[in-house]
């Protein structure tokens, strides 16, 4: 084999390896779900109210993990449901959350997380009715939690409550029909900017050890980040 051929082969092999590494880094390591921006048009640190809308589904039929439970976030401009758990809010504002709970009930590993903490008045509203505590063991009442440990926020996400409803849950994501509970609550976003992780504390990763794997550990499903900007 002549020298130019050998050099050419080596160069092509080198470029192939470099290309493969770049592909893996970009496609797998740097890949991230989109961030839904709720900060546009809001002046930070003025206590303005920002309405954030989420839904939690029993499955994710739009992705390659159809068996995984997942949150979706509504784009404030288009009102389309985005498969992500990343959202951006202005600092020092009142964040009014509406969560559509389409998933069924699950007992918490620790019933302590049935208590609402960190919201305005330490209260949430389930289908319009105020509540401070949900018994996740006794009643079919809670599907997930929405918790931001960095600001002491922990809110149990109510679920459909009857046997019939729980046996006929929405089967296509994002859900637009089917039994659901509507949860609303308000909290103040921190004045310190940065990323605040949030997650679900109910073991909803079906098929994984103790229910804490899979979607519970994956950004874009049952955990994500709230980016606070000024």
């Amino acid at each position: 084999m002549s020298l130019p051929v050998r050099v050419g082969t080596l160069a092509i092999a080198f470029l192939a390896v470099v290309g493969g590494v770049i592909f893996v880094v970009i496609h797998y390591l740097l890949a991230s779900p989109p961030t839904v921006d709720y900060s546009a048009g809001v002046t930070p640190d003025h206590g303005q109210t920002v309405n954030v809308v989420l839904q939690e589904d029993p499955q994710t039929t739009i992705g390659n993990r159809p068996d995984w439970v997942s949150y979706f976030i509504q784009d404030p401009k288009t009102h389309a449901w985005v498969h992500t758990t990343l959202f951006k809010v202005p600092a020092g504002s009142m964040i009014h959350m509406t969560v559509l709970g389409y998933d069924g009930c699950t007992p918490a590993r620790n019933p302590f997380w049935g208590k609402v903490t960190g919201t305005v008045g330490n209260v949430e509203y389930v289908n319009g009715k105020s509540t401070r505590v949900l018994d996740t063991w006794k009643n079919c009442s809670v599907g997930h939690t929405f918790s931001i440990p960095g600001i002491g926020l922990s809110v149990p996400m109510a679920s459909p409550t009857t046997v019939k409803e729980n046996n006929n849950l929405c089967a296509t994501s994002p859900c637009t029909s089917g039994p659901k509970a509507t949860i609303t609550f308000t909290f103040k976003s921190p004045t310190s900017t940065g990323d605040y992780f949030w997650h679900c504390r109910i073991p909803c990763g079906g098929g994984f050890i103790d229910g804490f794997g899979g979607p519970m550990q994956t950004i874009g499903y049952m955990t994500g980040q709230m980016e606070v900007v000024s």
Partner: protein
């Protein structure tokens, strides 16, 4: 280059009129002086600033242990460095010196000294470490469900742990690790659970550390306590906070996606403030405390009393919390 005999050393090569210096005295003198200076600096200058501080009896003990070990280690390290530098300067290879040094195999005095010195150091550290474990009630580490080293009056049975606290008795705090937060339960003060760690000053505290999912590690830095949180295991550690102030609690065991964010802050309070805090916190959590499982030394979420479940939960087959209702094929094990 190997060590040289006096007859072959450069000094000896200079002629019979130049006496061979006593290398041992030279090295020993420099080593002794530097070791003395280093040990004094370690003990008096750096010592008071060594981690984890002196906010608790166990932390105080750990700082003392680190000081003792550093004072013992410094002369060893200095000897190695002094010998190395002395060799480089005095016994370095000269021009036209192509010879190997003489073999020192079979030097009984050196071998005996080496074995004796290292054995004495290791045995001293072994004895010191054992005494310190005994003297400071486990040195802040988890001792498992049946601690060997425990302060007087340490509460071990569940019945004793739920009995109301009185001054002089250890304050029992159950530490529950869960992704990604520690919660703390106070069985002697009504059994409430909270996300804030408060402990009284100058009272023994017994941490009963456990987990309800994966392995975590409860690390209360300023208190000198670090105990693994294992599911189904009661890992007991003791400390006596001595200084008022903030406590930083971190998870010391890689436990999942947000392990790095699994930290919180607690407080060492005066006894009166602590009692007021328990009263206020008990009232704050009065609505959720009755829903918690009865206090037990471990916190097993898969054992839920059947009477706790309503008819809908039973009809849906959800008769235990966490894990138990996830069959291995739902949908597939990773």
């Amino acid at each position: 280059m190997a060590a040289q005999t006096p007859a072959e050393s450069p000094a000896a090569a200079e002629g019979p009129g130049v006496p061979e210096p006593n290398h041992a005295i030279r090295i020993g003198s420099v080593w002794l002086l530097l070791s003395l200076v280093a040990d004094l600096l370690i003990w008096f200058a750096a010592g008071p600033h060594l981690p984890p501080g002196t906010a608790g009896s166990q932390a105080d003990g750990q700082q003392f242990d680190i000081k003792v070990m550093a004072v013992m280690a410094a002369p060893v390290m200095i000897f190695v460095l002094v010998y190395f530098l002395y060799s480089l300067v005095v016994w370095r290879g000269r021009e036209d010196d192509e010879e190997d040094g003489p073999p020192i195999h079979g030097h009984a005095r050196i071998q005996t000294a080496w074995i004796t010195v290292t054995s004495v150091i290791v045995l001293c550290l072994f004895g010191f470490g054992t005494y310190e474990l005994y003297n400071s009630y486990g040195a802040g580490a988890g001792e498992g469900p049946a601690p060997i080293y425990k302060p007087t009056g340490a509460e071990l049975t569940t019945a004793q742990q739920v009995a109301p606290w009185s001054p002089g008795k250890p304050v029992v705090v159950q530490v529950i690790g869960q992704q990604w937060r520690f919660t703390y339960r106070y069985p002697q003060f009504g059994g409430f659970e909270t996300t804030f760690l408060a402990v009284p000053q100058n009272q023994w505290v017994q941490f009963d550390v456990t987990s309800i999912d994966v392995i975590h590690s409860f690390w209360a830095y300023q208190l000198g306590v670090k105990a693994d949180a294992n599911p189904g295991v009661d890992n007991i550690a003791y400390t006596k906070p001595t200084k008022l102030g903030s406590i930083t609690v971190r998870c010391g065991e890689l436990c999942g996606l947000w392990h790095g964010a699994m930290y919180d802050y607690g407080q060492v309070m005066t006894q009166s403030k602590f009692l007021a805090w328990t009263k206020a916190t008990n009232a704050h959590f009065a609505d959720i405390t009755p829903l918690l499982p009865p206090y037990a030394s471990t916190y097993d979420p898969t054992v839920v009393p059947l009477f706790r479940f309503g008819k809908v939960m039973k009809a849906l087959g959800l008769t235990s919390a966490g894990g138990g209702y996830y069959p291995p094929n739902d949908p597939a094990q990773p």
